[in-house]
Symmetry: C2
Subunit: 484 residues, 2 copies
């Protein structure tokens, strides 16, 4: 295998390129019409790029051919599957010279193997479609997020989500991968071995997990599945003081262990925003005032209720009574039941917050679990003094130390929409996260164009050097939205 | 960062080298006396190498200095921590020119963080010592194997073990790592960030998991811990026909989900060997005949028995009665209880088998879960015809599709101990595993000198090429027992 470096400038696609690619991919395989390209070039949060074309292969071989051709012609490719990411990792920039490599025609689900609890999927398969197919086997791919992404993008983002505490993330469910390397040959790596245990050297699939496509394009994956839970109980907890959250988490973990499948914080501000935006949601607090902070917890058992056993709701009530009596973990109130309504509210927070103000500055950050609430308290005080025009609408995966820390510019704010304001604010918050708390500027959304600056700033030099050396050695073609 | 390639030949250490290293590391930091070196140079299964010296640094900085010096002097280092591996991955060859880099003086446990369920350990920490320290916090590092390895070696081997079904392996419990790269600078990579979720680019620690030290020497790790289980129930199951094992496994998984923490197969031959070798063990079958095959299952709950709940033993009895009634999963017998005795037997199988015949040919292999018993049946027939001098003494982690497939040369066998016999046998079995069943030649023991041949033979060329390219780019110094 020989490797080479390309310069970082790219040329436009021309009619000749389009014709050649159309010949390979067929009429459905290439889109050049601006209106039809537009949805591919628009990000989930509304940010829009511009592309030269959308290429839609139907096989790994075609992906390889495209990568090889575009390398030769210096056409910069942006791999895309579900395009539900939040960090501009799957949309082109606004130059109009980049081409989108869409996996949306590669969505086959095959080799469902209940005995092995595994399945093979093509990268453009929606997680909802996969889970619908798996339901009759009592199995599912247990990554739970508000959006409906495709498997390829989930791998490239290493999606975590709301039930990570019990199930963990994409990395822990990837058995095998098929990928086309970002080199001039478009080398195909077939590592689709669906074994639970396999320790035979470098686990090559790790290169492609959470790296936003910089090393190549994932075309297929072999996934480890989980049993669908048989009993689920949810509750909404109101802590007396949100700074006690940590004691509450530890206490619940000690009483529930791995069956505690979610511990999701929701600020009163985020709840209000969701209820206002989606009138069909049920307000779990009825006519009462919405509390300052609430926690959605879930426990799941993978087995049916056995003879003589109480319902899981009743068991959860007992657990919460114990927690209540425990003076270290003060609870003001707890409502057990209504899982669909509570999760509908939880999953509506993101969009509700997005729509609630003039502008949203969203941070997907993480901490050692003991630090999350310390950080939020610190920020509340600091922002109230220095940025009174902002409302904190945080929510997130407190059980994993992760929080979607959202700052909403109040509707009546006279602050301008200047770029500098956002840039200053982003730098300030991220600097506190990383330097004061040893936290991460991206808990689970990945890097993307949006976090490029923070990758550059906060990744230790020696780690950047290793990443670049690997990129240069195995996947030297510039591909994807980020630069490492 | 600049990289270079060293040739693969090495020179001997001389008195000058020894003196310089002694000055840095102190008298305790270097061993050259042959008798004192011997235990470091001897592998767990008795295979012995010969070393020029044992170097025993006490800090990451010293490890860096050693690697840098030895690179310049072309001294080949073999990193070693607990030296309990089974594939000759941590012992030198018999040339006497290699030096062991032992982590046995780096065994500090620090930063125990119950709120974050994490701990920092130096690489030379024994897992038993770590778990003793953690016990009072109700936490443990949940990798369960018969030996007592150190954390560094466990990472380099990606240890799996007997409770992988519930807890998974080392890879899933590694939050952060500190490592010295195998380059001429001995570059230190500090990625000791103990976050549950952190998605900020290439997860660099993955390079060092299961790769036997070829990319560098792990000096510290940040580990994710699990709650100690609060209720445990074990049972010994006798399936009517071991070919029904798979239905039994699926049925139990459906009834227990993630609380099924072990599903360990034990052949009658392996049980007999263990009982004979260790008279202190309890024969769970009393005076009855030992069955052809038995399965040790364990279910664990992470919570205390709650008011009104039955004991987990009673619950397990109910579960097994349901399985019993289910005609798809025929059970001949089941004995619930006596966890210590059953696990003592399980953990004594390896040594019992080792001592039971003239010679042991051990295979650590894995399959899609549905294939394990098909493979064993096939081999029983094939070996009975073609290798009647061998007894199959298999046992292992059937719940993970993994099996320790042991072939014991009968004591009265007239077969010679010739190298060719072993070589032919190893090739035959491994070829069937990989080519006929799509299985792995190393489920969890890693590569090591012992599996080098199979790595060379069965690793796809494109994966070897990527591994070599990465090695050349980031860690070009030849280090460790294997060559990639």
């Amino acid at each position: 295998m020989a490797f080479f470096f390309l310069d970082a400038y790219y040329i436009d696609m021309n009619t000749h390129d389009i014709n050649i690619l159309r010949e390979w991919l067929g009429d459905k395989g290439i889109i050049t019409n601006e209106r039809q390209c537009a949805p591919y070039a628009q990000g989930w949060r509304g940010n829009t790029g511009k592309c030269a074309a959308v290429l839609r292969p139907t096989s790994t071989k075609d992906v390889s051919r495209i990568i090889s051709y575009c390398a030769r012609r210096k056409i910069h490719l942006i791999p895309q599957s579900g395009n539900t990411g939040l960090v501009e990792g799957s949309i082109p920039d606004d130059s109009g010279t980049q081409a989108i490599l869409s996996l949306d025609r590669m969505n086959e689900v095959k080799d469902i193997d209940p005995a092995n609890r595994s399945v093979c999927v093509q990268a453009g398969t929606r997680v909802s479609a996969l889970n619908n197919t798996l339901e009759k086997y009592g199995l599912f791919f247990p990554i739970d997020i508000s959006a409906d992404p495709c498997i390829g993008g989930m791998i490239a983002t290493n999606t975590g989500g709301a039930r990570y505490m019990k199930y963990r993330g994409v990395r822990e469910h990837l058995l095998g991968i098929k990928v086309v390397l970002a080199n001039k040959h478009g080398s195909i790596i077939d590592a689709m071995i669906p074994l639970h245990k396999n320790n035979t050297g470098l686990d090559i699939k790790q290169l492609f997990i959470g790296t936003g496509g910089i090393f190549g394009v994932i075309t297929e994956a072999s996934l480890l599945l989980a049993q669908l839970p048989k009993q689920i109980a949810t509750a909404l907890l109101i802590p007396r003081d949100k700074n006690d959250m940590n004691e509450l988490l530890i206490s619940l973990e000690q009483k529930c262990g791995q069956s505690l499948s979610a511990f999701e914080g929701m600020s009163g501000n985020a709840i209000r925003a969701a209820l206002k935006h989606s009138p069909s949601l049920t307000n779990p607090f009825g006519t009462d005032e919405i509390p300052n902070y609430a926690i959605l917890i879930e426990i799941t058992y993978d087995w049916e209720k056995r003879e003589g056993q109480q319902s899981l709701d009743d068991e959860l009530k007992l657990i919460l009574e114990e927690v209540w009596k425990d003076s270290r973990t003060p609870l003001d109130n707890a409502l057990v039941g209504a899982p669909e309504k509570l999760w509908a509210l939880r999953h509506a927070l993101s969009e509700g917050v997005q729509k609630s103000g003039n502008r949203l500055f969203a941070f997907d950050i993480s901490f050692k679990r003991g630090d999350v609430m310390r950080f939020i308290s610190f920020m509340e005080e600091m922002l109230a003094n220095e940025y009174p025009e902002l409302t904190i609408c945080d929510f997130g995966h407190i059980g994993d130390g992760a929080v979607h820390f959202n700052l909403v510019l109040k509707k009546n704010s006279r602050k301008t929409k200047k770029k500098e304001y956002e840039s200053e604010l982003r730098s300030l918050v991220t600097d506190i996260v990383v330097n004061n708390y040893g936290g991460s500027f991206s808990a689970e959304h990945g890097i993307g164009r949006k976090n490029q600056k923070f990758y550059d700033l906060y990744t230790p030099e020696e780690i950047k050097a290793v990443t670049r050396a690997i990129k240069g050695a195995v996947a030297p073609i510039d591909i994807g939205a980020i630069k490492i």
